[in-house]
């Protein structure tokens, strides 16, 4: 049976064509001159930008990205087990599949607890251990 991936491909193709189409129609209508000098400056509330905007940023963003990757890969492996569960409920060997679901969820819970205890889920992670905080 034709599964419709070609149809889905058309959606991706046409939605990608929307962007050049709209900007192209705009090119016919809009004035040709370009902003120069102070007009073309990045908008930082009217101040002249100090330095480049390509700066180092908070390490927390990397930690969130790493936690996401681990969880997302785990999720991708979880969907195939999830679709077999109904069949297992109807046909008897439910304990095996339930065990697998429990294993997957258990792994996610252990990972989540590990991050939680380590303090990786705190957005502002203290530099000092909690026990010494507030004494100095």
């Amino acid at each position: 049976m034709e599964t419709g991936f070609i149809n889905a491909f058309w959606y991706i193709l046409i939605s990608a064509a929307v962007v050049p189409l709209m900007l192209g129609v705009g090119a016919l209508l809009r004035p040709k001159q370009k902003s120069k000098g102070a007009e073309a400056m990045a908008y930082e509330c009217g101040e002249e930008p100090v330095g480049s905007a390509w700066v180092q940023f908070n390490i927390r963003f990397y930690v969130v990205a790493i936690v996401f990757i681990i969880f997302d890969v785990e999720m991708a492996a979880f969907f195939p087990v999830a679709i077999t569960y109904k069949d297992a409920v109807m046909n008897g060997n439910v304990a095996l599949v339930f065990g697998e679901i429990f294993l997957f969820v258990g792994l996610l819970v252990i990972g989540l607890l590990y991050c939680w205890v380590r303090g990786d889920l705190e957005w502002v992670k203290g530099l000092m251990p909690t026990s010494t905080r507030g004494r100095g």
Binding site: Y11, A53, T84
Partner: protein, 379 residues
């Protein structure tokens, strides 16, 4: 059941003439240009009117009757604006970013079940397809913000990336209970199973909306809706845009039609989120308590398709209205509260719902709460 529910097959069966792949292209263009783009434009207008009524003022009501021509006027204005790229920006990434956002939001329309015969592409991995293509949005936002060489943009883009990827986990986990219940990733199969109606045969084969399947799916639906709001950067989760702190966040340097494309991506994503909620939890195109496929009068296919479309749009647009309602009701969260809510609130609750639904299905042998109640009351 028909051999295939895809819209292209239905058109090919009734009109023919052209090869099937060209009907697929025609339907894709129809859905995108007659549903997705007008919805996004109309939603900006409705949002302003709704906002006005919540604030006891009139809102845009001058262009056309009740201001209904406001959004074409806005579109023309955006098209006529200068195509602005700030000095020092990375031009290639600046051009690429809106493309990723628009493709991410619009290509998800392929699997939205507008009706039994009105699905663009009835993929057997439909739910995963939506998750996969909407994942193009955070890199688009991040690249665009980084490329515009503006500190407000960079902060907004980083917040958007961290927020969207975190809430993606909660969304994916909240999708699992309906998948467990119907045993399929195909959106049409998931919707079909929710067509509960009066009559012994119907009651045995179908369960009611997944929202009411059991207490766990009920909670899971709310987890999905909250996480979906965060995925689409709507208030109370609009920290990436946060106009009181970041000017306009990730789209500060995007003006004219480029801003319009970001808005298109955002409203397209809101529609996809609400439509997936409808399909997975609110029975999609199904009319409550009536199953048109097992109805006692055989209705013509066109009538069924129209009823399905009306039901689906009514449910989805009500959800879109709730999204707008929340915007003018709730204050914005702080960034640490946002991350805490996701990882310490929604993700554990969603994991609990998955195990809870699995245990429910095991104990009650795959029967829903409405089915058990109906059985109990009928003796």
């Amino acid at each position: 059941m028909q051999p295939s529910a895809a819209f292209a097959h239905a058109l090919n069966d009734s009109i023919g003439v052209l090869p099937l792949w060209s009907w697929a292209a025609v339907t894709a263009a129809l859905v995108l240009f007659l549903l997705a783009l007008p919805f996004a434009g109309f939603a900006t207008f409705i949002e302003r009117r709704v906002a006005a009524f919540f604030q006891d003022r009139l809102g845009p009501n001058r262009v056309g009757p009740e201001g209904i021509l406001q959004f074409p006027a806005d579109a023309v204005k955006m098209l006529a604006k200068e195509d602005f790229i700030p000095a020092g920006a990375d031009r290639f990434l600046f051009n690429l970013a809106p493309l990723l956002v628009v493709v991410g939001a619009l290509s998800a329309f392929a699997v939205l079940p507008l009706g039994r015969a009105l699905i663009g592409a009835d993929l057997n991995i439909g739910v995963v397809y939506v998750l996969a293509v909407t994942t193009l949005i955070p890199p688009g936002i991040l690249l665009g913000s980084w490329a515009s060489q503006n500190k407000w943009s960079l902060l907004g883009g980083l917040r958007a990336a961290a927020q969207i990827v975190s809430y993606e986990i909660a969304v994916a986990l909240a999708l699992v209970p309906p998948i467990l219940v119907s045993g399929s990733l195909q959106v049409s199969t998931i919707v079909d199973a929710q067509g509960w109606a009066w009559g012994a045969e119907n009651a045995a084969n179908y369960h009611f909306w997944n929202l009411f399947y059991n207490p766990f799916t009920f909670v899971s639906a709310f987890v999905f809706f909250i996480a979906g709001l965060a995925e689409t950067n709507r208030i109370p989760f609009d920290l990436p845009e946060a106009e009181s702190e970041l000017v306009s966040g990730f789209n500060t340097e995007f003006s004219g039609m480029r801003f319009g494309l970001y808005a298109l991506g955002e409203f397209g994503d809101v529609f996809v989120m609400c439509a997936m909620f409808t399909a997975l939890y609110l029975g999609g195109w199904q009319v409550p308590f009536v199953n048109l496929e097992t109805f006692w009068i055989a209705l013509p296919a066109l009538v069924i398709a129209l009823i399905h479309l009306t039901m689906f749009m009514a449910k989805t647009l009500s959800l879109v209205f709730i999204v707008m309602w929340l915007r003018w009701t709730l204050p914005r969260l702080r960034v640490d509260q946002l991350m805490g809510l996701c990882w310490k609130g929604l993700v554990p609750i969603a994991l609990f719902n998955v195990v809870g639904t699995a245990i429910w299905m095991w104990v009650f042998h795959g029967q829903s709460l409405p089915q058990l109640l109906a059985k109990a009351f009928s003796g």
